[in-house]
């Protein structure tokens, strides 16, 4: 691990790992939901997807994550994935700490505790998810996502149904963790402000069937 040549080679290999999303068509029965949604995500880049409700944002994320495999096209993704669903999706019958260590068997209890501390749940390790508020459950889901040092992080509206102050706290926490772990990030949001804040690049889904809008928005400015 100490050999600088090896480390350099590993870095280069990592840098080559662009995430390629090439969804030609996605249908549910007779209705076409996605049509030619093609884009790349560079390592360490944060991409936001905007679009109205029901257009197919969650469907696209499920395809990128490999949860939904019934589509035409292909996705090149790294093995180290992490996902944050709209609902926290925790194991309600296991403690906060076990929710981290069961999902990441390589994570020691101490590392897991440190991770809980980072998201402000340092004193909640022994509690069950039911005993946490929604905001705390969301932070636990975030801790779970970052604890595995993912190469690709996928988030589906992680900041909705929180009061503005809590949403703001979650947003800056996410910003900090992304800066620290530096995964390629793909996230969906309704709120343009969230996209502007976190994303290097903003994609917009439009139309029926949904496709990517022709313009790219970079750092809030249309290009």
């Amino acid at each position: 691990m100490g050999d600088p040549a090896t480390v350099g080679a590993a870095r280069a290999a990592l840098a080559d790992r662009v995430i390629r999303v090439n969804v030609i068509r996605k249908t549910f029965g007779a209705s076409v939901v996605l049509d030619r949604v093609v884009f790349d995500i560079n390592p360490g880049e944060t991409v936001a997807i905007l679009g109205p409700s029901g257009i197919g944002k969650s469907t696209l994320l499920r395809i990128v994550a490999g949860i939904d495999t019934a589509y035409e096209g292909e996705v090149e993704r790294p093995a180290a994935l992490a996902i944050v669903f709209q609902e926290p999706t925790l194991l309600p019958w296991r403690s906060a700490l076990r929710n981290l260590t069961l999902v990441h068997p390589g994570l020691s209890d101490d590392d897991a505790r440190a991770m809980l501390g980072k998201v402000g749940l340092g004193d909640k390790a022994g509690l069950f998810p039911r005993q946490l508020s929604l905001g705390q459950q969301r932070r636990l889901a975030l801790a779970r996502a970052f604890a595995g040092a993912p190469e690709l992080l996928i988030m589906d509206e992680p900041f909705t149904s929180l009061d503005p102050a809590t949403a703001e706290a979650m947003l800056s926490l996410t910003e900090r963790l992304i800066a620290e772990v530096r995964p390629a990030t793909l996230f969906v949001t309704h709120a343009r402000s969230e996209a502007d804040r976190l994303a290097d690049r903003i994609l917009e889904l439009r139309g029926a069937p949904a496709t990517l809008a022709p313009h790219l928005i970079r750092n809030g400015a249309s290009s």
Binding site: G66, A82, L91, F128
Partner: protein, 249 residues
């Protein structure tokens, strides 16, 4: 004074009084001995070691059949609940076995496998597997697809997933089938012993039945009921409380 325990105690005491009264009215200990008349035979049988021996023989058979039936039933129910194809193919079998009288299965097992321990346990197990599978299948159909997706994205191992994601969701269904399972299995074990074993409570009841010894039939039956209640209180209920802890915490 509507404390649940008090009511239970009073109710059982009432049953005991009814028994005393019925025994007094019958006035024939050959047909219905009074509860007091069972104490002596019980102590004699316990002291001789006969009672503990046959109770333990039956308990071992119950334990074997219970564990096998639960393991097979959970596996089958999980498989059928998760795969529509498997369900379509195996559901008719389940219906057939659910409607097969216990006695028929027992006799067939003895005829085909022989009058031995394996046949006895297989017969009891086969009687219970379809019920467990049916109940667990309902649970497997209700498994949360989001948790499943989460487990897949994070590449949780098969065993971890089974133990920490799937089984906890099935726990209420497993508990329900375990409770009814224990209740049914020990009764079937008694029949199996009655028909073709030379040890156990069912065997002893068969023997005393042929001797028209009602008192001893009651001694063995009541002793085993007591054992099964003890199992329920000492093992099943604490286990259920443990797996439910996260709901009530």
């Amino acid at each position: 004074m509507t404390d649940k325990r008090t009511v239970t105690a009073l109710s059982l005491f009432g049953l005991l009084l009814l028994w005393f009264a019925a025994a007094a009215l019958t006035a024939d200990p050959q047909i219905l001995p009074s509860p007091a008349a069972l104490v002596q035979p019980f102590l004699r049988e316990a002291a001789s070691g006969e009672l503990p021996y046959h109770l333990s023989q039956t308990l071992i058979r119950v334990a074997w059949a219970f564990c096998l039936a639960m393991a097979l039933g959970i596996a089958l129910g999980l498989l059928m609940g998760r795969s529509e194809r498997v369900d379509r193919w195996l559901d008719p079998w389940l219906v057939v076995f659910l409607n097969l009288p216990a006695l028929v299965l027992i006799v067939l097992c003895y005829l085909w496998i022989g009058l031995n321990e394996v046949a006895a346990i297989v017969a009891v197990t086969l009687n219970k597997v379809p019920n467990v599978a049916t109940v667990v299948r309902e649970g497997a159909r209700a498994l949360d697809p989001q948790l499943d997706a989460m487990a897949r994205v994070y590449r949780m191992g098969r065993l971890t997933r089974l133990v920490h994601v799937t089984l906890p969701q099935l726990a209420p269904f497993i508990a329900a089938s375990a409770r009814s399972g224990v209740a049914v299995i020990w009764k079937i074990v008694l029949v199996v012993e009655f028909l073709g074993r030379s040890s156990g409570v069912g065997f002893k009841i068969h023997m005393f039945f042929q001797l028209f010894d009602v008192a001893m039939v009651l001694v063995y039956a009541l002793s085993f009921i007591a054992v099964m209640l003890a199992v329920e209180w000492a093992i099943l209920q604490p286990w259920e409380r443990r797996v439910r802890r996260w709901r009530t915490a």
